[in-house]
Symmetry: C2
Subunit: 153 residues, 2 copies
Amino acid sequence: MTANESDLQTLFRFLNEIGIVAQLSAHAFEKVMPAGMTLPQFVVLNHLVRLGDGRTPLSIAQAMQVTKGAMTNTLGHLEGKGFIAVVPDARDGRSKRVSLTQEGRAARDAAIEALGPELRGIAGEIAMPGIIEALPAIESLRKVLDVRRNPKA
Amino acid sequence: MTANESDLQTLFRFLNEIGIVAQLSAHAFEKVMPAGMTLPQFVVLNHLVRLGDGRTPLSIAQAMQVTKGAMTNTLGHLEGKGFIAVVPDARDGRSKRVSLTQEGRAARDAAIEALGPELRGIAGEIAMPGIIEALPAIESLRKVLDVRRNPKA
DNA sequence: TGTATATAGTTTAATATCGAACTATATGGT
DNA sequence: ACCATATAGTTCGATATTAAACTATATACA
């Protein structure tokens, strides 16, 4: 499966566009988020709601592909706002466990609510079938980059 | 063109994946770049090579969707390394013009060279036809987000 | 001509991120 | 049981980014 020059240029352009879309969408999200709610904070809350809480900081960091240090920072903010509780793991003295508070769930729901109109606006202006078809390609690209970054996992 | 719930969830997941791919690919790029060359610096050099130099800082900032302040920073680094020259515009006292130096072109070529194997590696591990088909969807999404951010332009 | 407004670029304070060094706890091989 | 190594989390220094305030120049219009 040798890649030709044209493939390389396409891939380069693809990654370039992805970088810009990521930046633009992050901006659009922050714009509509309730005051004080940042994108990283929301992503963590949403992750805990969707996949269940009681997870360790490390597993959350790996799921969203940031460093442990970045997660320490984000969890600190969320804890400071009372959106999560972080407690030592009784079984493993090195670990902690993250659980959602009532306020945390409410904040996540409010953020989802605020996101709705923006998402609807975007969805209304693009050809959704194209997006739906493109999703698997993005996901496989993510997996490839994932493995290349951390081959052992 | 009303969007249904499923469309919104797909779009949300799509943007989520894009954010992670952007982060992973930025990391992969920085990893192989020659010492001292950062991704923003490379992107600016590449832009100037491909579309011609003599551009203003503002136009470059707009092309890559960063603020003027960010561009001031990046151009400062590039100028400090002797990769570009920034001179006042004779016609417009507010403006400046950015031109590439010999060293700047060489640095860009070296970066492209260093990027080759990494891109080839990635291209060899994914299904390129899917990427090629997905590109237009990403591009149209970029345009939509672009317009929503700055409706007048 | 003069004044209000728009545009180009810089600076500043704040934030998120990274990688590396560090602490503490667990695990595995001898 | 012990010691080497691996893992979880924090901290630190550096960097890129943003929004907003600021300076300087240009343009439009009255």
